[in-house]
C-alpha cells in the first residue's frame, strides 16, 4: 500500500509497504519512521473510535505502534501491515479503556497541542474537537471506526471492510448511518466543503 498522508515527504508515498517492512526489519530506522508516518492516521482513527478522545488515542497509538513496529518480523503479510497495525492498536485500546494512567496524559497533551497556536483559535479548536468527540460518542464503535477511517483517513470501503472484518457493503451501511447521525447532531456546517463524487 502506498497511500499518502498529510505532511509526509514524497519518499513515503513511493516505497511499497512490503519493502518498508523488509527494510525496517533489517534495522533501518528511516524505514521504521516512514511506516509510522504512513499509517499513523489510520491507527489513530481506530484508537480514537475506541478511546473517544484525542489524548488517550495518541497515548494508545504510541504504545501500540512501538510494540508493533518493534515486532515487524511477526507480520505475516507485510503488504498488509496497515491492517496488522490497526488490529494491534484496536486490541491495545480496548485493554486501556478506563485506565487512569491514560486519562492523566490528557491535560499535558492539550497544553502541548495548543502551545503554538493563537489563544482564540485554540479555544475555537478545542470547542470544535469537543463537539466532534461528543457527537462521535453517540455512534456505535464500529460506526465510529468506519466514519473516521473513511472521512478522516480517506480509506475506501474495501480497505475499511478488510480492517474491521466485514464486507464492503456493510461498511457502506455503517458509513451511511454514521454520517446521517452526525449530521443530525452537528448540523450541515460540519460537512466537508468539497468532495469527489
Amino acid at each position: 500500500m502506498t497511500d499518502s498522508i498529510g505532511g509526509a515527504p514524497a519518499e513515503a508515498t513511493v516505497i511499497p509497504d512490503a519493502e518498508l517492512v523488509a527494510r525496517a526489519t533489517a534495522a533501518d530506522a528511516r524505514a521504521l519512521e516512514l511506516l509510522a508516518r504512513r499509517h499513523y492516521r489510520a491507527v489513530y482513527s481506530v484508537a480514537l473510535a475506541v478511546m473517544g478522545n484525542i489524548a488517550d488515542a495518541e497515548d494508545v497509538c504510541h504504545d501500540a505502534l512501538v510494540r508493533g513496529l518493534s515486532r515487524l518480523k511477526e507480520c505475516r503479510q507485510p503488504d498488509r501491515v496497515a491492517r496488522w497495525l490497526c488490529a494491534i492498536v484496536r486490541n491495545h485500546a480496548r485493554n486501556e479503556i478506563g485506565r487512569p494512567s491514560v486519562a492523566r496524559a490528557r491535560e499535558l497533551d492539550e497544553r502541548i497541542a495548543s502551545a503554538d497556536i493563537q489563544p482564540e483559535h485554540a479555544l475555537e479548536l478545542q470547542e470544535l474537537r469537543a463537539r466532534l468527540q461528543a457527537a462521535l460518542a453517540e455512534l456505535t464503535p464500529v460506526e465510529r471506526e468506519v466514519v473516521l477511517l473513511s472521512d478522516l483517513h480517506d480509506w475506501p470501503h474495501e480497505r475499511i471492510a478488510e480492517s474491521i472484518g466485514t464486507s464492503p457493503g456493510m461498511s457502506r451501511q455503517h458509513l451511511f448511518k454514521a454520517r446521517r447521525r452526525l449530521r443530525e447532531l452537528l448540523g450541515a456546517d460540519i460537512l466537508k466543503e468539497q468532495f469527489n463524487e
Binding site: I5, G7, A27, A29, Y40, S70, R71, L148, H157, F195
Partner: protein, 129 residues
C-alpha cells in the same frame, strides 16, 4: 474516494493528527526511536523456551530448602531412642529353650544323657518362673 453519494463526508480536520506538521513529525519520530530501542532491548535479552523453567526452578529450590530445614530441625529436636537390649536369636524368639539351642550349636556329638539333662534344666527353669 468516497463512493457514498447520499451524504457528504464529515469534516474531521479538527481531529486530524497531521494538522500540526511539526507535532506530527515529533510524534512519529518518537515512535520510531522507541520502537528501535524496544527492538534492541529484546534482542540483547533473548527469551528462550527455558526462561520460564529457570524462573520457576528458583522457587522450587527455595521451597525444597525450606522443607529440608524444617525436617532437619525436627530430627534434631526429637531425642534419640534408648539403646535396646541385645536382640534375641531367631530360635529364642521362636520359643526354643536355650539349653536345646546350646546343644544344637556345639560341635560335640550329642549323647542321650545330654538331651535328658537339657530337658531337666528346661523343666526346672519353667517351674522357677
Amino acid at each position: 474516494m468516497n463512493d457514498d453519494k447520499t451524504l457528504r463526508p464529515i469534516d474531521f480536520s479538527a481531529l486530524d493528527p497531521t494538522r500540526d506538521t511539526a507535532r506530527f513529525e515529533s510524534l512519529t519520530r518518537r515512535i520510531a526511536i522507541d520502537a528501535m530501542a524496544a527492538r534492541a532491548n529484546s534482542s540483547t535479552n533473548p527469551r528462550s523456551a527455558l526462561t520460564p523453567v529457570v524462573a520457576w526452578s528458583r522457587y522450587t529450590i527455595a521451597a525444597a530448602a525450606a522443607v529440608l530445614i524444617v525436617a532437619s530441625s525436627a530430627l534434631v529436636a526429637v531425642p534419640a531412642p534408648v539403646a535396646a537390649a541385645a536382640p534375641e536369636s531367631l530360635a529364642e524368639s521362636a520359643g526354643i529353650p536355650a539349653s536345646l539351642i546350646a546343644i544344637a550349636t556345639t560341635n560335640h556329638p550329642m549323647a542321650a544323657t545330654d538331651l535328658v539333662d537339657a530337658f531337666d534344666r528346661m523343666t526346672v527353669s519353667a517351674a522357677g518362673q
